[in-house]
Subunit: 191 residues, 2 copies
DNA sequence: TTTATATTAGTAGCAGGTACTAAAATTTAG
DNA sequence: CTAAATTTTAGTACCTGCTACTAATATAAA
């Protein structure tokens, strides 16, 4: 990189570390063609912690994220559950969920919220999503609280469950759907 | 923890570190009530790297994962695209995508594949999912290759796009859907 | 009791820093 | 142009969480 003044370097340094937090001071000093001490002063000035701390925070952030996405079978937080009858859950949307161009939340997050609530409301050891009829009525943005309400409308033969799930942001409905979930015995589905 | 024989300790140690990779040798030595040296010999025996290496690998693994989920606007890999006409993409399913009880892939992954393909096929700067009509025809398991095919069936007023998306595993259809996407101008959607 | 096996102790050295002091180099002001 | 202020570089001591190694004990098996 060509030599630059302090201000410029600070800006670029911040961007560079943001983009790749795994860079050592030595590597950065080579990139910017300044001494290692300068990089350290710069980091101090920008309140950027050392490599190991950066790595640790990437690790812990993502560790948590992976847990709530793959360990938790339910997307969002369950706040009320009447088995086989109704259920309510919510999900706070954030910047990671949106299309960058439009800032609109990707549909599958809302779908996942609705689907997992539909699954949660069923009192069956296993259920598989059969049919879903969906309508997105309004776009959802980041930093909004989605409230999902599921209502079991019909149970046929004790196997097929008809469930309506509606998702609201405050009083505005943003999504509605009908799920038909079919209870299946675990052994019967093996490949 | 009560004292235990080597074999038992090795097993527990492996589990403990797997569950929480952020433990120092010293903390582990206290947990198991053995010397720090013993923990180090144990790790060596089990081929478990040191704390910093573990943290680093958690960070990099998840760093990649987050990138492919949030940076990439399209879920799956695009292999063919005829703008405003048709498109094909695929997605390899893995163990992280399934319900643990049933080993069946969660519906929203398939939905996300279909939705993002539907969005990709449209030649509009911005598009928002309006209505989706969905049917899951067969359960999908991990380690299968989902192939999604999108077909634009109708364009109304140059704004509303009707798109069919079908998802197959080999010759079996596992999902089909109809999307109606509405092109919107970016300025018009701001809150 | 001798011999293995397992555990503990202790030392030197490494990476990637922090925290600090001090000297140059460069810029800015008078 | 010169003095003062700012920026950059140099160097040292110390920190954490290790590795790699040597050596002494403790415990269990033959």
């Amino acid at each position: 990189m060509p030599k630059m003044v302090k201000k410029e370097r600070l800006k670029k340094l911040q961007e560079e570390i943001q983009e790749n937090p795994f860079l050592r001071d030595e590597e950065l000093s080579e990139m910017f063609d300044v001494s290692i001490q300068t990089i350290r002063l710069d980091r101090m000035h920008l309140n950027i912690p050392e490599l190991r701390e950066r790595v640790k925070s990437v690790a812990t952030e993502n560790h948590d994220k992976v847990k709530t996405l793959s360990r938790g079978e339910i997307v969002g937080e369950l706040i009320d559950l009447q088995l086989n009858t109704s259920a309510i859950s919510f999900l706070e949307t954030d910047k990671d969920m949106v299309f960058q161009k439009t800032q609109i939340v990707k549909g599958h997050y809302i779908f996942a919220l609705a689907e997992s609530l539909a699954m949660a409301v069923i009192d069956a050891p296993v259920a598989i999503t059969g049919v879903a009829n969906i309508k997105y009525t309004k776009p959802v943005f980041a930093e909004q609280r989605l409230v999902a309400k599921a209502q079991v409308t019909h149970i046929r033969d004790g196997k097929e469950y008809y469930i309506h799930v509606k998702v609201n942001v405050k009083e505005d409905q943003v999504f509605r759907s009908k799920f038909i979930l079919t209870a299946i015995d675990v052994e019967g589905v093996k490949r």
